[in-house]
C-alpha cells in the first residue's frame, strides 16, 4: 500500500522524468551541451532521471513548519482630510511670515504655555527653502493677522494626530464636535458679552486643565489658542478657554468675558471625546 508520502515521491519522479526529457529536447534544439545528452540515447535519459529520483526520494524532507501566526490582510491608509497634525515646540523659536531665515518674525514660540503645559502648535503645511531647510507652517496663538507662521522643522518635536474638529457657532450658541466628519457631540454654550466678544477665527485646543477647585470654571477647562481682543491685560495673556460653569441657568447666552462656557455634564462629556490638538473654529 502506498503512503501519501510515497505517492508524492512518485508524482515527483514522473514530473522529473518529463522535465529532463524537455530539457534534453531544448538542449538539442538550441545546440547547448547537456549532461542528459552524454549517451545520446533514451537510456541515458532514463538513467539520469532514476538517479535524480533516488536522490530526491531519499531526502524524505519534513513538511513546512506551520507559523505560529499569520498577519491579516494589509490595509492601505485611509486618506482623510479630517486627519490633522500638531507638533510639540521643542525649542524657543521665531515664527516667520515666510519659510526662510531672513523673513520677518511674527512672534516667538515658547516651549511652555502660560498654564505650564508643553506648548504645541497645529501643523498646516511644509516647504523646503532654497538652502534645503525644511519649514513647517503652523497656527499661532496671536491676536493679529497673520495667524499662521513658518518655523524650522528642527524647532519642533514629534507629531500628534487628531481626527476631531470643534465648531462653536456664536449665532446659534452651540458647540459641535466632529470626529472623522461625523457629529459626535453637541451642546449649548455661553459666549462673550458684546463688550467682551469671543473672537472669531481658526484656532486649536492647546491643553486641558483639571483637578482645580474653582466652581466658576467647572470641573474641566480646555485652553485654546484664541485670545481676547479686549482683555489684553488679563493675567496669563488673556486666552480664551472652554470650560464648565457654576451658573448653568445662564446657558445658552452671551454671558462670559469671552470664554466658551458649557454645563458641567457637557464639559465632562466633551473632555472624554476631544483630544488636545483638536482644531477649533469659532464662527
Amino acid at each position: 500500500m502506498r503512503t501519501a508520502s510515497s505517492r508524492r515521491h512518485l508524482r515527483g519522479a514522473t514530473f522529473l522524468r518529463a522535465a529532463l526529457v524537455v530539457s534534453a529536447a531544448v538542449g538539442l534544439a538550441v545546440g547547448v551541451p547537456s549532461v542528459f545528452l552524454a549517451g545520446g540515447s533514451g537510456d541515458a535519459l532514463e538513467q539520469a532521471a532514476s538517479h535524480q529520483e533516488a536522490a530526491f526520494a531519499a531526502s524524505n524532507l519534513p513538511e513546512p513548519v506551520a507559523p505560529a501566526f499569520v498577519p491579516g490582510k494589509p490595509k492601505l491608509l485611509r486618506v482623510s482630510s479630517h486627519v490633522k497634525r500638531w507638533a510639540v515646540v521643542r525649542t524657543v523659536v521665531a515664527a516667520r511670515v515666510a519659510p526662510h531665515a531672513r523673513a520677518p518674525a511674527i512672534t516667538e514660540l515658547e516651549t511652555r504655555t502660560p498654564e505650564g503645559t508643553t506648548n504645541i502648535v497645529l501643523v498646516l503645511g511644509n516647504r523646503v527653502d532654497g538652502a534645503g531647510r525644511l519649514w513647517i507652517r503652523v497656527r499661532l496663538a496671536v491676536l493679529d493677522e497673520p495667524s499662521a507662521g513658518w518655523v524650522p522643522r528642527e524647532a519642533l518635536g514629534s507629531y500628534g494626530t487628531v481626527t476631531t474638529r470643534l465648531v462653536v457657532d456664536l449665532g446659534s450658541l452651540q458647540a459641535t464636535l466632529f470626529r472623522d466628519g461625523q457629529t459626535v457631540f453637541r451642546a449649548d454654550v455661553g459666549v462673550g458679552k458684546p463688550a467682551w466678544p469671543t473672537p472669531r477665527g481658526d484656532f486649536y485646543i492647546r491643553n486641558k486643565l483639571k483637578g482645580y477647585a474653582s466652581p466658576m470654571y467647572g470641573p474641566v477647562a480646555f485652553g485654546t489658542s484664541a485670545r481676547s481682543r479686549v482683555l489684553t491685560d488679563w493675567p496669563a495673556e488673556g486666552f480664551v478657554g472652554i470650560h464648565g460653569t457654576d451658573r448653568p441657568d445662564l446657558l445658552p447666552g452671551r454671558v462670559s468675558h469671552g470664554c466658551i462656557r458649557m454645563r458641567n455634564d457637557d464639559i465632562l462629556r466633551l473632555a472624554k471625546l476631544m483630544p488636545v490638538g483638536t482644531p477649533l473654529t469659532i464662527r
Partner: protein
C-alpha cells in the same frame, strides 16, 4: 526651560550612512562593481536618516544555550518596537502629504510598505497580548516630509530590520514562532530590495546576508534619536486663568 524639554539631548541627530549599515563593505564593493568607484563613493557618503530605540536583549549568540520561551517573548517585544518604528514612519509620511507628491510607482511602494508594517504591528500585538510594549513616541525629525530623506531612511530601516530578524530568528525556541519570523524576515528583505531599487541602489548587495547583533542594531537606532524623549505634557492640574 521646562523639565520635559531638558530631557531632550542637545545637539544634532547623528545621521546613518550606508557605511554604518555595511560594516563588512560588501555593499560598497558590490556598488563599485556595478556602478564604479565614483558612484560607490557617492552612496557611501549618502546620509540615511535614523532611529532611537532601547535595548531589551543581550546579543543572541552569547545566550544561545539559554534560550527560552521567555526569550521568545522578549524577541517579539523587540521586533514589535521595530514594527512600531516602521509603521509610524510610513504612516507619518503619508499623512504629511509626501507620498501624494511621489510618482506613482514610488507612491505604490510607500503605501504598500506602510500597509504591511501596520499589519505586522497588529498581529504581533495580538500575539503578545498584555506583554506587548506600548508604542513609543517617535520624532522623525523631518525625514517624513522630504521625499529624498524619506527614501534614504526607508532603505536604512528595511535593511536594518532584515539584519535584525536574520540575527534573532534562529534564537527563537518555538518552531511556530521561527516559521512566523522567517515569513516576516523574507517580506522585510523584499521591502529592502524594493526600497533599494527605487533609491537607485543595487537591490541585492551580496550572496549572503549577515545578521547584526541586537547591540549593534541598538547602537545604530539610538544614534538617530527617532524615539522622542520629549513626551508632551498637555494636561495639568491647575486653576485656569482664562478670561472667563
Amino acid at each position: 526651560m521646562s523639565a520635559d524639554i531638558e530631557r531632550e539631548t542637545s545637539g544634532p541627530a547623528t545621521d546613518l550612512t550606508l557605511e554604518q549599515l555595511d560594516g563588512d563593505g560588501a555593499l560598497q564593493e558590490s556598488i563599485a562593481g556595478f556602478y564604479g568607484d565614483t558612484r560607490a563613493g557617492l552612496l557611501r557618503k549618502a546620509v540615511i536618516g535614523g532611529t532611537t530605540m532601547l535595548a531589551t536583549l543581550a546579543s543572541p549568540p552569547a545566550l544561545a544555550a539559554e534560550i527560552s520561551k521567555r526569550n521568545d517573548v522578549r524577541i517579539f517585544q523587540y521586533a514589535l518596537n521595530f514594527e512600531y518604528l516602521q509603521s509610524s514612519f510610513y504612516t507619518e509620511t503619508e499623512r504629511a502629504g509626501t507620498v501624494a507628491r511621489m510618482e506613482e510607482a514610488k507612491a505604490v511602494w510607500a503605501r504598500t510598505l506602510g500597509a504591511h508594517e501596520r499589519a505586522h504591528v497588529k498581529i504581533i500585538k495580538q500575539v503578545l497580548g498584555d506583554a506587548a510594549p506600548k508604542k513609543p513616541l517617535f520624532d522623525f525629525r523631518g525625514n517624513t516630509e522630504s521625499e529624498s530623506r524619506f527614501t534614504r531612511t526607508a532603505v536604512a530601516m528595511e535593511d536594518l530590520t532584515t539584519a535584525l530578524l536574520t540575527g534573532v530568528t534562529p534564537a527563537l525556541r518555538s518552531q511556530g514562532l521561527v516559521a512566523a519570523a522567517f515569513s516576516l524576515l523574507t517580506v522585510e528583505a523584499r521591502h529592502a530590495a524594493w526600497a533599494r531599487h527605487l533609491a537607485g541602489i543595487v537591490p541585492v548587495a551580496a550572496a549572503f546576508d549577515r545578521a547584526k547583533p541586537v547591540s549593534e542594531v541598538d547602537r545604530i537606532v539610538a544614534s538617530t534619536r527617532f524615539t522622542s524623549t520629549l513626551v508632551p505634557r498637555t494636561t495639568a492640574r491647575m486653576e485656569p486663568k482664562f478670561v472667563g
